[in-house]
Symmetry: C2
Subunit: 205 residues, 2 copies
């Protein structure tokens, strides 16, 4: 458990370090310089990121890959299973139901929700679609911890409130709108239009 508040960018880099480490055998020793180069940062940054969580390097040598992976998996809480529910089984929602990064041992999209009577009751990408009206009731009996919102922007706030009512503690929001939710619920926004707009800004300079 870290002693200080860990910045979100450090947590994001841990996820990226972990992915990079998966390409190496567990008994290899990797230096902070090597790791920095693979993920595109500085070795000082790598050491600073790990320092939040204690000391797991071999002084003067680097990190043993297997041990470092284990530590990061534990820090990121990927050594437990997380149950997810996705709301809005349109094109993006369906693509995410099938997305390999969301279908892993540690993440399971257990349920999906939509308002379309043509989708309710169907199995889409292996996940049963339920009526979005019943979110609070169905979620609380399924121990869902994370909700993914892929609805149109206009209904995202209402859906977020239903997810919170159903007991989720975190929301990954793809709808291009700012959600207002209780402070104890963790919100991450993935704003695809913003990514594209930011990209073209830099091209125009």
């Amino acid at each position: 458990m870290p002693r200080f508040r860990v910045p979100e960018v450090t947590v994001e880099r841990l996820s990226i370090y972990l992915r990079a480490l998966k390409k190496f055998s567990d008994d290899r020793i990797i230096s902070s310089q090597d790791l920095a180069e693979i993920v595109g940062t500085t070795d000082a940054q790598v050491r600073k990121d790990f320092a939040y969580f204690g000391e797991f390097g071999i002084p003067g040598q680097g990190y043993r890959v297997g041990k470092l992976k284990e530590e990061i998996i534990h820090i990121l809480a990927l050594d437990k299973k997380w149950n997810l529910a996705l709301v809005g089984v349109g094109k993006l929602g369906s693509a995410l139901l099938a997305y390999p990064g969301f279908r892993r041992e540690e993440f399971k999209i257990k349920l999906a929700f939509d308002v379309d009577p043509g989708k309710i009751g169907k199995i889409i990408e292996g996940v049963r679609v339920e009526d979005a009206k019943r979110i609070p009731e169905i979620l609380s009996s399924n121990q869902i911890e994370v909700g993914i919102i892929t609805t149109p922007a206009e209904v995202a706030q209402e859906i977020a409130e239903k997810l919170v009512e159903g007991g989720v503690r975190g929301i990954l929001n793809f709808a291009p709108v700012r959600l207002v939710i209780p402070e104890n619920i963790k919100l991450k926004n993935v704003d695809l239009s913003m990514e594209l707009e930011t990209l073209v800004y830099f091209l125009s300079r």
Copy 2:
């Protein structure tokens, strides 16, 4: 044109301010406090973000919505048209071809590419799918400025190189891999697994 290097987060917030402003009538005056509240930041931050680009407020009152929208649209270079190409017409790629945020007046996905002979030559979501082998040649005759990569991670680097060869100046990368590209090409990574991993980290505390 800003006199200083503008941080990427400022540019990202401009995109979010613009979306918020679109809900108000052009002749309304909005204060930095109001705008801060809508997008979830502080009024000092709002003023600081705009200060990079000059002075467009009305002292002691705020900003006229229409004028501010116009300024942001100009800053973000959304007053010109951008031609995009998408590579990897799988589930995520197809969803993005149909994504409203990527189908706007200022953004046009003109071409898509895939390696699957069953997709090449087809029109998917209104966009013609070409052979990924021909990326450099086809891009350069179509004035494509931005490439979107939605391929599997293993081939993303090779695709990025073909896009650069074809003349793109920016890449929006959805493949979970760090791309190595020339420094003059702007790269934005959208890493969906990382978003989810970062979210659950904060839930586990």
